[in-house]
Symmetry: C2
Subunit: 633 residues, 2 copies
């Protein structure tokens, strides 16, 4: 049929097979030392000249011939004649001919007749920087394969080395493919896929010391791909072919590679990253990079980074490892090594990690990730509460300042992330969108610092507190801090073509609806509206269709796959939708009393009560922060 | 008088005073996302468009309307008509109008008549990537003050953001001063000091995100300095004035700064780094950087780095800390915070650290340093064997592979550093030149992995082993591994003007001599030659003058401050000196049996017996590696 994975071999074995068969031959180039920061030496560098190049005064004072001062003492001061017996020298001055020591200026007494009195003898070579004290000619300054740091540049220049042989950066060709693929800046149109992978891959390659070039996009055409690959092989040290997202382009990559060289690996037992192709042509490494961005970047890190570090003669930097408690269960498939991106926070004296979406197409999961959980092939995954080890993308010391927000999603929480960082650069706020109920559960289990909740209780007419008392009656240490009141309403296409005014219209006019996930406050609100009006969920077209955020609901309506959703004004505005208000609701942050009193909690409170922040949020429309910071317990 | 330190305040207080009074105002600039790697966002960035921008197939297969497939089952296969009931889709294709689910190609059976049979129903929206799954319009992609990584660029492009507002790099002016200072490439002449500090400072500033410019060197002239500073203040965000090495230039800096602005701190209670000037002019930070390189770089790190990180809104990266055992005593002065550069190795299951030279002029100490020991003002230092905490320049994980060489210095040890790194990029060999006797002591105390020794025993006529047996009779775990035989001889000015042939000439002709330090094998050889010829050390002019390496001895002779020294051929050659051979000596490496058998020991043995390495060393002249690798015990 269509796509066939030729192999399904473990990642480490694939790497071994690849590294055994390909190599980027080292080339060298001569560059000025002043431009060599970060470059890697191609050979050991010895000093050409000495620094200092002469015996130099190491203090401000007078140069003397020590042997002539031996008689000086408190009882028997010695008078030195200018020129003959002493000369003034400043630090760094060459020691004048015929002198072999320096006496510090504060140990001398100048007399009006020009003579100088000393009360102690000098020992030969005191306060003299001998020739070559810093660098001596012939001395090794840096070995070969040494990445040059600022101080190395100084030592090289001190040693009279103005130009230096460094490894040339390997030239890497990036070939995007796929008839549906268009340059990232091209106007978006349905069915075309913008090529942002090339930019990201080029950036990674740059970080790993290569010199990347993005070649023109090649459509799904075997002949044109072959000619592009052959052209690249002639000019570059390393060729990366990015598959389009369609199956076709990947097949072309494999078969073209078989024609011009050899496929060593096609298919790796990982998720994501499986459809990776590793090959060799004209002795050069050729990699078929998967089209899905997360797969692409992981596969690059697994197979291209080692190649580039080997070229530099440097060990690959190891990621810091951190034992963390799993906030949620993480399942995995037997026979596949899974790489799950995770967020990490430090809650109640332990590191808690939660998985991000596993979709290989979700670049944002790599943006949000604090680390990765590697689940070995033979594992079925881990239970909630288990301790597992992560490889960190950010240092553990920084993760201590990660604030985990769970619960309901609101745009204000995003703005809060920036406002907190501006107050304290160490603070990073990351959100998982679990809905209000999920947020309460996360806080109760110590898996998050704060949770957005907006749960209307029909019995009391009150928000949030009744749910908290019902769900966690024993937890007197939890408090609710008001963030905002916000307007909920119907999001509808511009002009409200169906004339939606209230929930009855939805049922009666069979307007195609998109719902929020179970446990979301907005979903509970919707259920409440249905119940109030005696409408059964079955009467709603699309009741089962769930999205996880207000923005995703709005996106579905904007895309025309639904005609109505319940959500907030700012989300409707982001997509140019019309908005029919339903009512104002209270949006609180649930947290422990101890977090509230912590330095981070104090910064949070200061931020949400700051008039600048309030102004910024209210300008979005649909929000009132009149009670922000009020505590309910 | 001359130089006066106006203040002597603790480093942290100086920093506080400086940061309270100066600020680099944030400027922003708009740049293409493709060029934004490593730059810092100036504002929160929200997605402009959604990715995918339409509902897209998440699998290769067929698009269907789920509701039409509900009847399909094993017992009751359903036949789908092309176009009407299904359409082929590849991963990433937009879902055709009127369809709401994808069935994987492997779950379908194509029939010859074009119809497709399915055996199970599809649920609505299965295998569909909904609009905005990756990034949804309006969503926060990155907060303000976020340093952009490769994956961030991908998410930005995915979110339709092609250009982005980032913080402009602060412009920093570097003004070298001093009438004796010349550009680093200028031909060396006596009394002129090459300005390599500017290059190093520019490199540090670049690493910290600034945009440095090196301005022309200003001689010691108050008027010209003032006009250079005023010019820089008009154009740059930050002005650094590097003092020349003479006292004069520093005084000019302070007094010019008083004229154009304000001196906040002049003199910090640290060593090195004391003569730092911190000031403010036209609201901009102005720093008077000390002229000695080590002082300059440390002071830059203490006072300029925090300023630049504050500009970026990022916490300063913290150095890893490591408890180490002190291999040598380290003394310190009360009232001064000392920063001692240290080498670190992992010997016999513990990290051992040894101080490097403390000279503020010795750039090589920063090149060689693995970390720094900060001795607080109130401490007098630490004893050998004490555990202290270092701030590391290189990660502890890398330092585990640091090989510490102690003992006698030889150029081969430098070549070995490169050869080992080529075999195993993790291995770094660092040497401290302690002389043969010092090397034996270091090995016996577990402070080094290997020590170069060349100790002739007149009684037995044998090398090294007799000393080992005499000094450490109980240590049966130590072995000697031969590295080379090398020629020792008299190093004399070209043409051997004094006609030096043997040690008697030295005494008789009163030839000015430069000796090696006590405990050096070469010094013992010299003492043996004196004794053999019944010459007293008092008869030798310069017997007390000591240098620590062969190269430094050669440098002294080349500089004309001595006319003879004892040393090796390669050192004489490095300085173009003549060489009168005295005899061949055995140069062994002392190590423990357990190190010899360790992986690093094996790599060492493989290296010194490798014909390529042997060829390289013997080409230097004066060496024979005919017995390299032979073990003596």
């Amino acid at each position: 049929m269509r796509r066939v994975y030729l192999t399904n071999i473990p990642r480490k074995e694939a790497l071994k097979r690849f590294l055994e068969r390909v190599e980027i031959p080292r080339r060298r180039e001569e560059i000025p030392v002043s431009q060599a920061l970060g470059r890697v030496t191609a050979e050991p560098v010895l000093a050409r000249t000495s620094m200092p190049g002469y015996h130099a005064a190491a203090m401000d004072g007078i140069a003397v011939l020590a042997e002539k001062t031996f008689s000086a003492s408190d009882q028997n001061p010695l008078l030195l004649e200018p020129q003959r017996d002493y000369r003034y020298v400043d630090t760094g001055d060459p020691l004048p001919e015929g002198f072999n020591a320096v006496i510090k200026i504060e140990d001398t007494q100048a007399r009006e007749d020009g003579r100088i009195e000393i009360l102690a003898p000098a020992t030969p070579w005191q306060y003299v920087r001998p020739v070559g004290e810093d660098v001596v000619a012939g001395e090794l300054i840096v070995p070969a394969l040494h990445p040059l740091r600022p101080q190395d540049l100084g030592a090289l220049l001190a040693g009279g080395v103005a130009a230096i042989a460094v490894l040339a950066k390997p030239r890497a060709a990036i070939i995007p493919t796929g008839s549906e693929v268009v340059p990232p800046e091209a106007p978006r149109k349905k069915g075309s896929v913008p090529d942002f992978n090339s930019t990201v891959i080029a950036a990674y390659l740059q970080e790993w010391g290569a010199d990347p070039a993005i070649l023109p996009i090649v459509p799904d055409d075997r002949v044109r791909l072959r000619s592009a690959v052959e052209g690249a092989l002639a000019e570059y040290d390393l060729v990366l072919i990015i598959a389009g997202s369609s199956a076709g382009s990947e097949d072309f990559t494999a078969s073209v590679l078989e024609e011009v060289g050899e496929v060593l690996v096609h298919g790796v037992a990982t998720r994501p990253g499986k459809p990776t192709i590793l090959g060799s042509a004209a002795g050069k490494p050729v990699v078929g990079v998967p089209g899905y961005p997360v797969s692409a970047y992981l596969s690059l890190e697994w197979f291209v980074r080692p190649l580039l570090y080997r070229y530099r003669g440097e060990p690959e930097p190891e990621r810091e490892r951190l034992p963390v408690t799993l906030g949620r269960r993480v399942v995995s498939q037997l026979g596949v090594e899974e790489h799950v991106r995770m967020t990490v926070g430090y809650v109640e004296d332990r590191f808690i990690a939660n998985p991000l979406t596993r979709g290989a197409g979700v670049t944002m999961s790599l943006v949000r990730a604090d680390g990765v959980l590697i689940i070995p092939e033979e594992s079925l995954g881990y239970e909630q509460g288990e301790t597992v080890e992560l490889e960190l993308y950010r240092p553990a010391s920084a993760l201590r300042y990660n604030l985990l927000a769970a619960g309901s999603h609101d745009l204000i929480v995003d703005l809060l992330a920036t406002a907190l960082k501006e107050r304290d650069p160490r603070l990073a706020l990351s959100s998982s969108h679990l809905g209000s109920m999920g947020g309460i559960a996360a806080i109760s289990k110590g898996q998050a610092h704060l949770a957005g909740v907006h749960l209307f209780d029909p019995e009391t007419g009150e928000y949030n507190l009744p749910y908290l008392k019902k769900m966690l009656p024993e937890r007197s240490d939890l408090i609710l801090v008001n963030l905002a009141y916000r307007m909920q309403g119907w999001m509808v296409p511009p002009g409200n073509p169906d004339g939606l005014q209230d929930v009855r219209d939805l049922a009666e006019k069979k307007i195609s609806f998109v719902n929020r996930q179970k446990g979301a406050g907005t979903r509970l609100l919707f259920d409440y509206l249905l119940k109030q009006n005696n409408i059964s969920p079955r009467e709603i077209d699309g009741y089962e269709r769930e999205e996880h955020t207000h923005l995703n609901v709005a996106a579905a309506i904007a895309a025309g796959t639904a005609r109505a959703g319940l959500g907030i004004l700012s989300a409707a505005r982001a997509f140019g939708l019309d908005f029919v208000p339903v009512g104002e609701e209270r949006f609180d942050l649930l947290m422990t009393e101890s977090f509230y009193r912590s330095p981070a909690g104090e910064t949070l409170l200061a931020t949400i009560t700051d008039p600048a922040f309030i102004g910024q949020v209210e300008a979005l429309g649909g929000y009132s922060l009149r009670d922000a910071g009020t505590v309910y317990r």
